[in-house]
């Protein structure tokens, strides 16, 4: 359930009903739905909010596209992540974890529901996805108490870096979202400054293919189910009344027998000495040489590329005469650096730069991929072996080897007293050491040797001034 405290401080607070009897699903629609009608309306020109309405509706039009989107989202939602703190602050790691585990997604609360709606906006709207950073007060440095999904259709990108987004709530009130209150994401953002970061989403990139495949599937469905006219046949030698009578009688007979779709051939006898003639005019049909399987395969490839997932996620490779095991691995590795991978990186960078404190980091962790873990362990072992050889040969000392281990990420920073090469390598998941003052590294009042000695030294240092103070207040 949603958190009332976070909602109260969120710009989405007006989007929630005051009581359980108003504003329920089906009682009203906020804007015209693009989800009705069997055929595709032309896609409005890039870019308008109407275009995003049509793009959002694509998942209701073509089942394989909907399945591909669902697969991409669920796969990302099931990825693991880790909150680390270089100062080992349990308070900050717990707060960070709670922030994501309690993210708001309308009436739902949690990481998975949040990511479901967030990624749908990212993949299905050119305007992109928006996240509100809910704070305890309106001040920029105020404590972050939650994250909330914002409906992309209600967000307007501005050219003002201080107020990058305007959010329109259910009552039509415009909320100016300051830069510390909102995170905006878009796929393939347009480079022209006049569009303020509006992009070209996966649905936009694949729209023609989605429309084509939807039409093919609709055609095959109607042809199979007998609905809709596919051709016009002109007959000579039989009257219209005779024809209608024959079809109606046969239809009624079949319905009586329980047949609804597959009614078979109608056999009717006519008393006539005239020769029957037939001219057929096709009304709609597939092009010459049309191969439904090939069209589908091409479409799946385009879907996979548009979303940025391996094609076998949409269609299994088995039965295609390829070395599917190896190919799956190769395709999966290739897909790691495309499409949604860019979103993952952007999410990670934004969380570490804007949302989390200086010493706390968010990182993705695909704990289920044992292949990846094994590969990493093997490379780490190679590095460890190399360092051992270098120590044995006298090339480097043990301390230098530890420094190399820390730089490579094989050892934690805490293993060395001082990082001699703090600027040597800094991954996109790390934060520079200079952001964390060494004096502040221990956040809790623990009785470590360092703080005891510091306290004793301070008492000694301040004793003379304290005696002056005593003399002053005692009037001596």
């Amino acid at each position: 359930m949603s958190d009332p405290d976070v909602i109260r401080r969120s710009v989405t607070r007006q989007d929630y009903a005051a009581d359980p009897y108003s504003g329920s699903v089906g009682m009203y629609f906020v804007y015209p739905t693009p989800y009705s009608g069997p055929t595709y309306a032309p896609l409005p020109a890039w870019w308008s909010t109407q275009r995003d309405f049509v793009l959002r509706g694509t998942v209701h039009r073509e089942s394989m596209w909907a399945a591909a989107i669902a697969k991409a989202i669920t796969k990302t939602a099931s990825l693991g992540w880790v909150i680390n703190d270089t100062a080992d602050s349990q308070l900050r790691t717990t707060r960070g974890q709670q922030l994501y585990l309690t993210a708001l997604a309308g009436m739902q609360r949690g990481w998975v529901p949040f990511l479901n709606v967030h990624l749908r906006d990212y993949l299905l709207t050119d305007n992109g996805a928006f996240v509100e950073v809910v704070r305890a007060s309106a001040a920029s440095g105020s404590r972050i108490i939650g994250l909330a999904h914002l409906d992309s259709a209600r967000c307007t990108r501005t050219a003002d870096p201080d107020v990058p987004v305007l959010y329109r709530d259910r009552l039509g009130k415009i909320h100016e979202m300051r830069w510390w209150q909102v995170l905006s994401f878009s796929d393939m953002p347009d480079p022209s400054e006049t569009w303020n970061g509006v992009g070209l989403c996966a649905a936009s990139r694949a729209f023609l293919t989605i429309a084509k495949l939807a039409a093919i599937e609709q055609y095959l469905y109607e042809k199979s189910s007998g609905d809709g006219a596919t051709e016009l046949t002109l007959l000579r030698g039989v009257s219209e009344n005779q024809l209608i009578s024959a079809v109606t009688t046969a239809d009624a007979e079949q319905k009586r027998k329980g047949a609804v779709y597959y009614k078979g051939k109608i056999l009717t006898a006519f008393l006539s000495d005239q020769e029957l003639q037939e001219i057929t005019i096709p009304l709609k049909s597939t092009p010459d040489g049309f191969d439904a399987k090939q069209e589908r395969d091409n479409a799946y490839m385009i879907y996979a590329n548009a979303i940025g997932i391996p094609v076998q996620d949409i269609q299994p490779l088995s039965g295609q005469g390829l070395g599917t095991g190896t190919q799956t691995l190769i395709l999966a590795e290739e897909a790691e650096a495309q499409g949604l991978a860019a979103w993952r990186q952007q999410w990670l960078h934004v969380q570490n730069e804007v949302v989390l404190p200086a010493s706390t980091t968010f990182s993705w962790a695909d704990k289920n991929d044992t292949r990846d873990q094994k590969a990493k362990a093997e490379v780490a072992k190679l590095r460890a072996d190399t360092r051992a050889s270098q120590i044995m040969s006298g090339e480097i000392t043990v301390e230098q080897a530890q420094q190399l281990g820390v730089d490579a990420g094989d050892l934690p920073r805490e293993f060395i007293a001082q990082d001699e090469t703090p600027g040597g390598s800094l991954g996109d998941e790390e934060k520079p050491l200079t952001e964390i003052p060494v004096a502040l590294a221990a956040p809790t009042p623990t009785t470590t040797k360092a703080t005891t000695s510091e306290a004793a030294a301070l008492v000694d240092r301040e004793l003379a001034r304290a005696l002056d103070l005593v003399a002053s207040v005692l009037g001596r």
Partner: protein, 182 residues
């Protein structure tokens, strides 16, 4: 609490407020502020203990107790400094929080005033619900013999918290005989 201690407390409040204002104005980096604040705490806790014992010098036991008190304060200060660093622009409430540190020197005063007797708690040491705002005190009556005292927790003149009310009931008096709590 003596008049001298009240004067000392006023000075301490002034100093921590000045320091915190400098931080709020951006005239001081967090780590520099933390070091300066730590110095002020050490100085005033030392002075408070000396005022409590009526001047003179600190013996080894007194100094060890003082160091532990300062060390605990530094731990809290470090945590606060981290919070400031995380939310640099959020300045609301800093002055009030700084004042709490100043009020905390009252515990050192009472430690000095009670001559390092093995008492279970001191006013303003943070062990009561009223924390550093405690207005209570110890009344020590020296009895005949060596190390014999009756120690009474005296409630402050204004409103009192539940902890202090209970202490006033339980420790009326608390007996120390031959230097040991009985």
């Amino acid at each position: 609490m003596s008049a001298a201690m009240r004067r000392l407390l006023a000075r301490c409040l002034l100093e921590v407020r000045k320091l915190t204002a400098a931080l709020d104005d951006g005239g001081m980096a967090v780590d520099a502020w933390r070091d300066a604040f730590a110095g002020v705490l050490a100085r005033y806790h030392t002075a408070a203990q000396l005022v409590g014992q009526g001047g003179g010098a600190l013996d080894a036991r007194a100094k060890a107790a003082l160091t532990r008190a300062v060390q605990a304060q530094l731990g809290f200060l470090d945590r606060w400094a981290l919070e400031i660093q995380d939310n640099a622009a959020y300045t609301l409430g800093r002055q009030a929080r700084a004042a709490l540190y100043a009020q905390g020197i009252g515990a050192s005063y009472w430690r000095g005033a009670t001559r390092m007797l093995p008492l279970p708690a001191m006013p303003r040491d943070g062990t009561s619900q009223c924390l550093g705002n405690c207005g209570c005190g110890w009344e020590i009556t020296e009895l005949e013999g060596d190390g014999n005292y009756d120690c009474t927790w005296v409630l402050g003149k204004s409103e009192n918290c539940q902890t202090c009310a209970q202490r006033a009931a339980d420790w009326a008096p608390l007996q120390i005989r031959e230097g040991r709590l009985v």
